[in-house]
């Protein structure tokens, strides 16, 4: 084998997958035509999902803190996994407190406004695609005095200090005994001096005159987490993307 033959062979065997797997799909995905609402739909124009909260910044912090190593953000189609049927991961299930089934699989537009899609590496913790929706629902159902933001900040500071909610197939609301394996993210919080109760600090007791304050990074991260509402209620889906036939078409 000559050097020339070797180089040609190497360029060919590398170049073809490079083109077919990386370059062309990358360009194609950048030039996706926006999906339009159908003629019968009450909405017109293009489907442009919007999320509230500090998406770009929070998404970057989510990646930097390595959350993507233990939490996923993808509801796979059923040939690839049971995620749609697992609890409230894909959306809210129909029950006495929920009128319509809002579950759906992840679509490509779900990751808009982020730099990189945090598909996730492992599921040491639950999938977070619908974390915002789930948390609001559970807190309301359990008449909790916490706001979603407070719950999330406490979870980041000390995961074992907040109750965990879970809904197996029977639809019952339980708080499981097993405590979270999520390690505390001490780097996101600052210890500050406070007078009295302290404004904007977490409800934890440390030394007298000191309080735990979430940093800006923690707030941005929580803002991003609470924006994770990738079900049919979040942004009305055009029929072309809506694989859940029972889903309502808009948020009432």
């Amino acid at each position: 084998m000559t050097f020339k033959a070797f180089i040609i062979g190497l360029l060919a065997t590398f170049g073809i997958p490079w083109l077919l797997l990386v370059v062309v799909p990358y360009s194609t995905m950048r030039s996706l035509d926006p999906v339009e609402y159908g003629k019968d739909s009450e909405f017109t124009g293009a489907f442009v999902p919007k999320r509230d909260g500090r998406i770009k910044e929070g998404s970057r912090i989510f990646g930097q803190e390595g959350c993507a190593l233990c939490h996923t953000q993808v509801i796979r189609p059923t040939y690839a996994g049971n995620d749609v049927h697992r609890g409230e991961w894909a959306g809210l299930r129909k029950s006495s407190s929920v009128d319509e089934d809002t579950r759906r699989e992840t679509i490509a537009q779900d990751f808009q406004q982020e730099d990189v899609a945090h598909i996730g590496q492992t599921r040491v913790g639950p999938d977070l695609s619908n974390f915002g929706r789930r948390l609001e629902h559970y807190l309301k159902l359990n008449k909790s005095s916490r706001t979603p933001e407070q719950w999330s900040l406490m979870h980041l500071y000390n995961p074992k200090a907040v109750p965990r909610y879970e809904v197996p197939e029977t639809g019952a609301q339980i708080i499981t005994a097993w405590k979270s394996a999520c390690p505390p993210k001490s780097g996101l919080f600052d210890k500050v001096q406070v007078n009295g109760a302290g404004y904007g600090t977490l409800p934890v007791d440390i030394e007298a005159g000191m309080g735990i304050k979430p940093s800006d990074r923690a707030r941005a991260l929580v803002s991003y987490l609470l924006s994770l509402k990738k079900d049919t209620l979040g942004n009305p889906l055009p029929d072309a993307l809506n694989f859940n036939p029972k889903a309502p078409k808009s948020e009432e």
Partner: protein
């Protein structure tokens, strides 16, 4: 080609020792700093694994927060240890096989220092929470071009040496090393451009990062490991490679299947379906080069079991190749659709990655290091016991990591697919297996602390002054490396 003529032989010995002398400083620096990074990365891996079953472990240090420490662990292992060990092996092997002295040692040494500085900077940024946020490419975006410049400065001379080699037979190892040398910049530049420079769809950014990680193993670490194995197996046993044709077949099958790897990490995500399927198919087909290389190397060394038992280089290399065949077989089992569905988001992926990086690449790298270091320091290894501990604790540790992670992953996956169980069941199972992983890393740390110590003693020229190599069995009457007085076995140098 060596002639059976004593002047030609002694000229060859002089050439070889001048090649070794020219490369002494850069190669020893690369190996020694690599070994230190290996120890550090294993410590980080221990912390990362410990946090999975004891979440409050070391919470006082925010730079060791979970997630960040996992990223730091993998990045340190790949860029601190893996790439530096690979550099040392590449530049020494290519110089020896092309029979050219290295004329750029000073430049390479400088570049190796800069590499260490850049990697340190990247790891510190990750631990401060200022990484890129992209899984599999966690270094901040400015680190990558610096790494590429250092890479080119270190390895371009090997590409030159190959082109100006004397006419004649090209060894299998040279094809593997040449390919690895070119593949790395191809995948790294592509990944850097698409992930950091251009503004692409978030899913494709994740996909390209996954592709980079997959091809980094199949198109860089694997060729370097195989190139080293194809050099050591004939060299140490004194027999030629069993079949040059099978060797070429193994090489080209890796070249054909390897570049498609990596995107199986996106299985189930809303990307064009053929992408993850192509990745999974490529990982299944990796069995073909694994069997070709395994068959070829085993046939080369078979019948020489005493040599494998005695020679540290061959023992580590043979273990690495056997694990490569195991890797190929496991790859087939783990990348079918039912297996992916079950294990995609479990510890299985981590165990499999560690099998590749430590079990295949690192064991072959250790084999090369145990061979190369005596030749460039002109000293022999001090302690047979250190080498044995390094070997056995590594084998035990890597088997444990792989078994616990893969079995744990299957159990985790089964737990999550079982809808009658709450999520907590799956999480509990995962925690139990992570204890096994932590213990295994502790063994591997123990092994490599001794390796690091041993290597540093050799670097300080405190090795044994002897031309009789350090063998793992003290009672063998003659050395498999050749008669006394020669550090090298030049009379069977043909491959």
């Amino acid at each position: 080609m060596a002639e059976n003529n004593s002047t030609a032989d002694s000229k060859d010995v002089v050439l070889r020792s001048s090649i070794d002398r020219s490369l002494r400083h850069p190669v020893m620096f690369l190996f020694a700093s690599g070994a230190l990074w290996l120890v550090l990365s294993i410590v980080l891996g221990l912390v990362a694994s410990a946090k999975k079953h004891n979440p409050e472990f070391l919470t006082c240090f925010s730079w060791l927060d979970a997630g960040k420490v996992d990223a730091a662990h993998m990045s340190a292992m790949i860029y601190g240890w893996g790439l530096q060990a690979a550099f040392g092996i590449i530049i020494w092997l290519m110089a020896r096989l092309s029979r050219k002295e290295c004329t750029a040692s000073g430049i390479i040494l400088w570049a190796a220092h800069v590499w260490n500085a850049v990697v340190s900077y990247g790891i510190i940024r990750i631990m401060m929470g200022e990484g890129s946020g992209v899984t599999y490419m966690e270094f901040p975006s400015e680190v990558w071009p610096l790494l590429l410049v250092c890479y080119t400065t270190i390895t371009i001379w090997s590409l030159v040496q190959f082109q100006v080699r004397d006419a004649g037979h090209v060894y299998v190892s040279q094809w593997y090393l040449l390919a690895g040398l070119l593949w790395f910049p191809w995948i790294a530049v592509t990944a850097w451009v698409f992930v950091f420079l251009m503004d692409g769809h978030p899913l494709m950014v994740a996909g390209v990062a996954g592709w980079f990680k997959g091809t980094l193993f199949s198109l860089f670490f694997l060729p370097v490991a195989l190139g080293s194995a194809y050099y050591l197996a004939p060299k140490v046993t004194g027999r030629p490679v069993y079949s040059y044709n099978i060797a070429l077949f193994g090489f080209w099958s890796l070249a054909v299947f390897g570049p498609w790897a990596g995107m199986e990490k996106l299985f189930g995500a809303p990307v064009p379906q053929f992408l993850p399927y192509a990745g999974a198919a490529s990982m299944i087909l990796i069995l073909i080069p694994a069997i070709a290389v395994g068959y070829n190397i085993i046939k080369t060394v078979i019948g020489n079991s005493e040599v494998i038992a005695e020679s540290p280089s061959l023992r580590f290399t043979a273990a690495g190749i056997v694990l490569f065949v195991v890797f190929g077989g496991l790859s087939v089992l783990l990348h079918t659709v039912p297996a992916l569905k079950l294990t995609q988001f479990t510890y299985t992926g981590y165990g499999f990655d560690v099998l590749g990086l430590y079990g295949v690449f690192s064991l072959c790298a250790f084999g090369a290091i145990y061979f190369i270091v005596p030749r460039i320091t002109r000293r022999e290894w001090l302690s047979r016991r250190f080498i044995k501990w390094h070997f056995f604790c590594s084998i035990y540790g890597i088997s444990s990591v792989v078994i616990c992670a893969i079995a744990g992953g299957l159990s985790q996956g089964q737990g999550i697919e079982d809808l009658s169980q709450p999520f907590g069941t799956m999480a509990e199972r995962a925690t139990q297996f992570s204890w096994g992983v932590t213990l295994a890393w502790a063994f591997i740390l123990f092994a490599n602390l001794f390796f690091c110590l041993h290597l540093f003693l050799m670097w300080a020229r405190l090795g044994r002054r002897s031309s009789h190599p350090t063998l793992l069995d003290a009672h063998h009457p003659t050395s498999p490396h050749g008669p006394e007085g020669e550090v090298d076995n030049y009379s069977s140098a043909s491959a």
